[in-house]
Amino acid sequence: MSLRAEGLRVRLGAAEVLHAVDFSADPGEVTAIVGPNGSGKTTLMRALTGELPHDGRVWLNGRDTAALRGWEMAALRAVLPQSTPLAFPFSVVEVVRMGQMSGLSAADPTLAARALSAVDLAGYENRFFQELSGGEQQRAQLARVLVQVWEPLGPDGPRWLLLDEPVASLDIGHQLGVMALVRDYARRGGGVVAVMHDLNLTAIGADKAVMMAQGQVLAAGPVPEVLTDAVLGEAYGCPLRVNAAPADGAVFVLPHSVGKVA
């Protein structure tokens, strides 16, 4: 009962941008995919979700995703893309209900409102989606994704949230709120895989991390083993030193200078 991939290769145009990547994530944990720009984080995510044609195989809860139908996948995992443009003036609640219709909780009349309140958008139901700010739109999309797999544990195993930069355009309060929300989802038995840009949020929000660099996995494992001076320096090509905050031992990232690695 995990999300596992072997030998993922993705070609975009003539270039291979993902080179035989192996990946695994367990339910009950938040797994962050981190790495510099263009390292293949989003490509890996899009291969895992089946959005991009790829070589290699992906198993979700032990089932080969190539053999799963679209609606079966939709009941097992929900995906938050990096950005979701919306055509036509749908209201916020109409957008959220589209996600709800795709999952197993389609009949619950109060679910959309509860999900909106979970992402701090209570009372936004009848606003036009396009009239929200960028961060509000992203949280409304997160609500749409949440209601698709609302129960973290289904009858046939865990449900999965696959999130591509879920906190990228949020203010710091909502960044922490969303990280708390997905941690709670994992704590209740669901699986969460998130592409993350912010290393400090990764450090306090994720259990496992996968460091991508140049289309390959540079390091993978518990966060303190991945976010190390050596790994970060190699991945990002700049001197970074990981420090532990004195309070509770969580690591944080502190840039020390803007020069190249010596």
Binding site: T49, P53, A78, P81, P89, S91, E94, M98, S102, N126
Partner: protein, 354 residues
């Protein structure tokens, strides 16, 4: 996202779905009203009284019978079918392209159908094997032209089972231009009588409506209309983009294929029997989206009803304003539709951009 500040205060959108359901009932009433007006009006004398007498079983004179059953009724049925087909095709195409200004005319389906019809009118006379198709030659050729252009478009814009909407739009413009140029060549070599035929076909008219035409176009249009509700959820999902629709379990490629085929069939059949009738496909879905929201589950059936009603009413106008002569219906829909369209654009620019 542009010009949000220009949009007027957001109308209440609470529970637009049930408002759309009430609208659905109202539109059936509108269609019934339009149908009555259509049967009761025309160049010669079947009055409203005679119409009700006919419905209650009283004897009609021979002339009244012919006018009612062989002229006005097929015309009413054909008008309703064509109107519904144009409006639903427009709504489906707009949903597919995620663009409120998309229209079958935009992706070359109408241009292809036009080329087919013009080919039949100009070259058809010299081709003996075409003779067996008789009065169907022009409609049939228009249908083939629309279908073929959609197929070419589809082949150009689909790679590895994925259709690129951007490629399709651009290819549609190119194909439309090509079909227009080919049509131009044919018009250039046409003689005077053919030019007259071409002009009238191009303006669009329901004047030639017969039961034979209803029988030729009806089944295709009805099949496309019946398929539309099954596209509704897929088109709603596509509004969030193909990736999000895919993640929500919508069979994106199947929805796209079905949408393209139903639009090609319905538009080809409609253009074939009625020529170029504009603005129904773009104005009707807009009006409904503004009134009851963009949810395709009610938008598609309501578009069918409103499109049918509006085209039947436009036909009534085309028959009565300069009676006993007739104004081609394409002129009526353009005169009524274009200002409405501009008015929508001006008043709700913020909404259209969304």
């Amino acid at each position: 996202m542009v010009a949000l500040a220009e949009a007027p205060a957001a109308p209440p959108v609470a529970d637009r779905l049930s408002r759309a359901r009430r609208m659905h009932l109202a539109l059936w009433a509108l269609l019934a009203l339009a149908a009555t007006a259509s049967l009761a009006s025309g160049a010669t004398g079947v009055s409203l009284g005679a119409l009700f007498a006919g419905m209650t079983g009283a004897e009609l004179s021979g002339v009244e019978r012919v006018v009612l059953y062989d002229i006005r009724l097929p015309r009413l049925v054909l008008g309703a079918l064509v109107g519904a087909s144009l409006a639903v095709s427009g709504a489906v195409m707009q949903g597919l392209f995620r663009n409120p200004l998309a229209d079958p005319a935009l992706v070359g389906v109408s241009a292809g159908a036009g080329l087919g019809a013009i080919t039949a009118i100009v070259l058809g006379a010299g081709v003996s094997w075409l003779a067996f198709t008789g009065i169907y030659t022009v409609p049939f050729a228009a249908f083939i032209g629309g279908w073929a252009s959609t197929m070419i478009l589809y082949r150009v814009s689909t790679r590895r089972g994925r259709t690129s909407v951007a490629t399709m739009l651009l290819a549609g413009i190119a194909l439309g231009a090509l079909a227009g140029a080919a049509s131009g060549v044919l018009v250039y070599i046409a003689d005077d009588a053919q030019l007259r035929d071409l002009t009238f076909w191009g303006l669009g008219s329901l004047a030639g409506a017969t039961w034979a035409k209803v029988a030729a176009a009806g089944p295709i249009i009805v099949a496309a209309l019946l398929a539309a509700p099954f596209l509704a959820r897929g088109l709603n999902g596509l509004a969030l983009g193909e990736a999000a629709a895919h993640h929500m379990g919508i069979p994106v490629q199947t929805v796209k294929n079905a949408a393209i085929l139903s639009v090609a069939a319905a538009t080809g059949a409609a253009v074939a029997v009625s020529g170029g009738i504009g603005f129904v496909g773009i104005v009707v879905p807009h009006l409904l989206r503004l009134a009851t929201g963009p949810d395709h589950r009610m938008l598609l059936p309501n578009a069918a009803l409103l499109g049918a009603s509006l085209l039947v009413l436009a036909d009534v106008i085309s028959r009565t304003v300069i009676a006993p002569a007739e104004l081609p219906i394409g002129i009526v829909t353009a005169i009524l539709g274009a200002p409405v369209f501009l008015w929508i654009l001006l008043r709700r620019r913020g909404m259209i951009d969304l």
